[in-house]
Symmetry: C2
Subunit: 366 residues, 2 copies
């Protein structure tokens, strides 16, 4: 375990036992949310920060867990003592979203009506649904407001939706490597991933674990998370062996890497959760309830905004982040923006670039 | 049938009955190549132009065929009377490459040793192998040289390899929307496509037609052929029905389009050919035989070069074309370059943009 680590974190549970109506109109008969906290809540309960996760993320954002004592949380580089989200100053809350597969109610949890896992019967949930459930978590924690809500990618979309849907209960919104809605190309990539899963014969034939399809989805996703330059630097055209073998075994290093990613991910992730997360991405469009006008959607927001993008991100490029910035500026909102120079592509939001960290620190403090 | 059309074209066949050694060291015991010609060969046999096709292309580049009287060849917009490749002036030859599935020897042709289709036993072929077989076609046609060899994407790579391998038999090389070799990202996309095919349970279980996997490969390929802006213009976030349905049926227009592409393509294309074409792309690297130095590879070339790229192409971006241009300039070769402004992405090379057409006409004439 490294120094400056938060050590082993015990997850907590929030059980909501009433009916929860989803955006789709369907009803969840209660739900459970797993979450972790880092740092201490101050006396006047004014230092709580909510962290929202992306497609394949979960509640375990920082420190270590009992299950994986050698692997830290997904945002451990940014959450901890003196880090971007400084646990000496803030009380950080990180949850697994509804529909996830790491402990919150989702396709892998047991449907009380059938005593079987929900599987594909778990209803589709949206970013609005998540934010609504996160607001119930806020109440459960006895908080009047979040000092900040922050996330990258799909997590950033939740931070944006928070500012719109619960403007009275959020002071600062940190929207990282996100877009105000998916483009046709973004949806297209998601659709290929979904088709890989749902056309896998194992999807519908009892085992409910389409490992092949989920692996393909992960490989494809992975390409879109990395920049072309990072792939070039990391793999180039390096061969596993000395020469071309003129066959279909792994020849290039990049093939080996992708197959490994596919294999490890598809062993542990739930395919229905993957499907559901990609649909939440596709559906995300906060302007939809406001005559398709993002300016209108942002009008009643009261929080300050920090919008961050990464120069080499081609999944949600800086141009997409600027669409959010422009709408905020048009709506005369308080907004700071920085494009972080990076070569890691969309994954840039996971790494503690100095300017990136400083932007978050300054924004949280001001 | 449209005016200015070449009408219905009868394909021709070239049968090579000797052993043909491939770059891999494997031997093809003879082969057959299907090809078409448009226009007339002049008296001194100095006006022949070879057209090379890309990944899913074939010999039927222009005019109509008996099978498809309502659908013209894949480059019909550029080949014909007064078009970029003017059939009033040039004798155009277009073939289906070895390993193809449209009439040349390939996985779908019959292996004389087993009386069954070759299927996955057809050996992997490379761009060098194709160029070598195209040179035999040249001899068969009684030509001393090609006035030009031209192609887009993988076709452009053949035009480049031609200039290197048979410098005495090519006057002009037209390399369109190509790269001097694939990047790690390019290989990664190909690998996902291949894994979609080879992990499809139907791949190895008798039917030898992994329709699902081939469809996924096509969907994915298709995304990389179109620019983000073209997808935005063509589909945006348009829905098939009025509202979100919160399910996995088609919701967005772009999903419908991709599923249709997958379905029609995978009904007619051979999966083994698809695998083999993607490997030919991965393997392509003319510098490999020249100490990984493209300048050295180009040193002995004697043809003039026209390199063309498309502004919105992100599969083989203008930057990749410029790598070829820069190596040609370093080697003091005669090279013209144009970046064609386009919004169609990689597919731009299929459309008769005015400046694009004029660049080709001028270069063929000069």
């Amino acid at each position: 375990m490294k120094s400056e680590s938060l050590g082993i974190i015990e997850p907590k549970f929030f059980k909501f036992e009433e009916n929860f109506e989803l955006e789709s109109g369907k009803i969840l008969k209660g739900f459970e949310i797993i979450y972790e906290t880092y740092g201490e809540l101050n006396k006047d309960k004014s230092n709580a920060v909510l962290i929202c996760h992306a497609l394949s993320g979960n509640h375990h954002a920082a420190g270590y867990s009992h299950d994986e004592q050698d692997k830290s949380g997904w945002w451990n580089e940014l959450i901890g003592p003196n880090k971007a989200f400084d646990t000496n100053k803030y009380f950080i809350v990180s949850l697994n979203n509804l529909g996830g597969c790491h402990g919150s109610s989702g396709p892998s949890s047991i449907d009380p009506e059938t005593s079987q896992p929900f599987g594909k019967n778990f209803p589709l949930v949206t970013v609005k649904d998540w934010v609504k459930s996160q607001d119930l978590l806020r109440l459960h924690l006895g908080l009047d407001f979040w000092h900040a809500v922050a996330g990258g990618s799909l997590g950033g979309m939740q931070a944006l939706q928070w500012a719109i849907d619960f403007e009275g209960h959020i002071k600062k919104s940190i929207v990282i490597a996100a877009a105000p809605k998916l483009s046709a190309q973004n949806i297209a990539f998601n659709e290929v991933a979904r088709q890989a899963i749902v056309t896998d014969p194992d999807f519908d034939q009892g085992s409910y674990h389409p490992k092949r399809g989920l692996g393909l989805a992960r490989m494809l996703g992975h390409i879109t998370y990395l920049s072309e330059e990072m792939m070039k630097e990391k793999f180039g055209r390096d061969l596993k062996k000395e020469n071309y073998e003129y066959g279909f075994d792994v020849e290039f290093e990049v093939e080996s890497y992708l197959r490994y990613q596919a294999d490890t991910f598809s062993d542990k992730f739930n395919a229905h959760t993957y499907l559901l997360m990609t649909k939440a991405l596709d559906y995300f469009d906060p302007s939809r309830d406001y005559e398709n006008d993002l300016n209108k959607a942002l009008e009643k927001t009261t929080s300050d905004f920090l919008i961050l993008s990464f120069s080499s991100d081609w999944r949600f490029s800086p141009e997409r982040s600027k669409e959010i910035v422009n709408a905020l500026v048009s709506s005369k909102k308080s907004v700071s923006y920085a494009e972080i120079k990076s070569y890691q592509g969309h994954d840039g939001f996971l790494f503690p670039d100095k300017r990136y960290v400083q932007s978050i620190k300054t924004f949280l403090k001001k």
